[in-house]
Symmetry: C2
Subunit: 295 residues, 2 copies
DNA sequence: ATAGGGGTATTCACGGCTGAATAGGATCGA
DNA sequence: TCGATCCTATTCAGCCGTGAATACCCCTAT
């Protein structure tokens, strides 16, 4: 990992198509650009540019890398923006939760919260990446699993229960699986992206390696849409399943996973009164909501 | 915009807490690190570190910037990963669309597509950032707006129509707004995050600057949940509104925005047969689905 | 053919960045 | 109180990366 600045040169050459014009743009000399490029090609052990008579052209590998570098450039710009932007701490609280938790638990609670605390504005950020707190894109997170980082603190609110579900139309067509092995002859709805690594998802994938995958997405709510169209079987927490019509649980105790739900915040924020009020309200309400759930 | 490499130094000092140990980690000398830090502080015109007796500590501004720099570091790592990873092209097609389009249009079409093309696996990525194609996290995007980048090509599929909607329970309680000005006495459901800048969202914000914001989120489907609980008024495309019960349109022609829907892909990909099949199927089906929509 | 305008590769003097050395401040424990 | 041990700031010789200059390659228009 050395010299990020070289990437700036890659970007310029990729954009302008020649060392000379890249040098003009970067306000350095042409030999310098040339050297930097060969240097980074050696470091990455990959040929990024093809030397053509009228300049430098991206190779296939180079194209792939250049698109990544472009993002790095955007991030560099964002840094400068952040530096120039004045420090703001709004009286607005940003809460983040996964799609499913937000849909079934947080959104219904939020309107109640607003009635009791009309002066607090709450913004709900749907996201499955737990980096959001550290990035300061959110102030409070409701997540599966304990704080993984020591700048975060939190409180365990209870458990969510996951089961495997199918729509009546699917089950009528394909029959009801009775044992985990039966899943290999079934069709499932798969999770990808940020939610691909959740334990309940991994279990299904490992126990039904031969099952056909009919639909895969990073969005639980969209998976539920596919579920209710009878596309396949799907892992679902009971708090989402109980509101769906004509969907029933399969495999019962053979597929039964419990996960801990936590409410988290950054250490620095925990004593701010606005944060505190959301933290306490949401914590208590979700805690009792989780207790009411079927197991 | 100069010398991205300085950010690497910022990161090291932020992590280690002193010039000396950062120098050790970066395998350069302590004065070099010190110079680079003061240099970038001057460039950004911001004090990133506080000089404390036992080293350098991030200031508040520094903390904000450091978290951005960390992302740049992740991106740098990703570049190196990309460079080392062998070129792979799976037979899986990744499609990306916004939450709402995915929910109402793409998911229903996907099961049909699978029946006609059982050999093609399609993965659906829900996202509102249009960078996904450039990042190569997805192969095909269905988006609002034309390709903004010349490595992308696409085809216009038609228009979606946006209106302002309220739930019966809300309208009974608060009355029906008749003119745009009336909105200032109403409560609205607001879009934040990636979808905050969409034209239909901006229109509402500008035309109802005094309206109370009852709920704000980056997820349309969660906003719809709030809408159906009668929390407030909300901007919605007709393809989502038509499936909601007890929700009716307000302001009629006074709030009426049309946006173009496009299907996009990267130039290099457009001739791959697998991509082609998804592109054609989705393009045609969405095109005729959009034509059937109420205006 | 040939001149001219695009480009890259190579050379070499030089200026700026680097690092070793050093001075000096703060804290801690004997 | 003093030495040890962290740390930063400053200095200055030396080296490395830079840029002007140049050779040369390729293409095109005259």
């Amino acid at each position: 990992m050395s010299n990020w600045d070289d990437y700036r040169f890659v970007l310029a050459v990729a954009e302008t198509g020649s060392l000379t014009s890249a040098a003009r743009q970067l306000k350095v000399s042409q030999p310098t650009v040339g050297r930097r490029i060969t240097e980074i090609e050696q470091r990455l052990e990959a040929r990024l540019f093809e030397r053509v008579p009228d300049g430098y052209r991206l190779t296939d590998a180079g194209t792939r890398i250049a698109s990544q570098v472009r993002l790095m450039g955007l991030q560099a710009e964002r840094i400068e923006m952040t530096a120039r932007a004045p420090e703001t701490r709004s009286d607005r609280v940003c809460l983040t939760a996964s799609e499913g938790i937000a849909h079934a638990i947080v959104t219904p609670l939020l309107s109640q919260f607003r009635i009791e605390n009309p002066e607090v504005e709450v913004d709900l950020l749907i996201s499955n990446r737990s980096a959001d707190l550290l990035r300061r894109e959110a102030d409070i997170a409701i997540r599966i699993g304990a704080p993984g980082n020591d700048t975060l603190i939190g409180r365990r609110l209870g458990q969510a229960h996951f089961g495997l579900f199918g729509h009546d139309s699917y089950l009528a067509r394909r029959g009801m699986p009775l044992m985990p092995d039966d899943l290999n002859a079934h069709t499932i709805i798969e999770s990808t992206g940020d939610i691909a690594g959740l334990p309940q998802v991994v279990w299904l994938r490992e126990n039904a390696p031969k099952a056909e995958i009919a639909y895969s997405s990073n969005s639980i709510l969209n998976q539920m849409q596919a579920l209710s169209m009878g596309v396949g079987l799907m892992t679902l927490p009971t708090y989402l399943a109980e509101d769906m019509s004509r969907v029933r649980r399969v495999l019962g105790d053979h597929y039964n996973r419990d996960v801990d739900i936590w409410i988290l915040t950054e250490k620095r924020l925990k004593d701010e009164p606005v944060i505190r009020s959301v933290l306490d309200f949401m914590g208590n309400e979700i805690q009792s909501a989780l207790k009411r759930l079927p197991v």
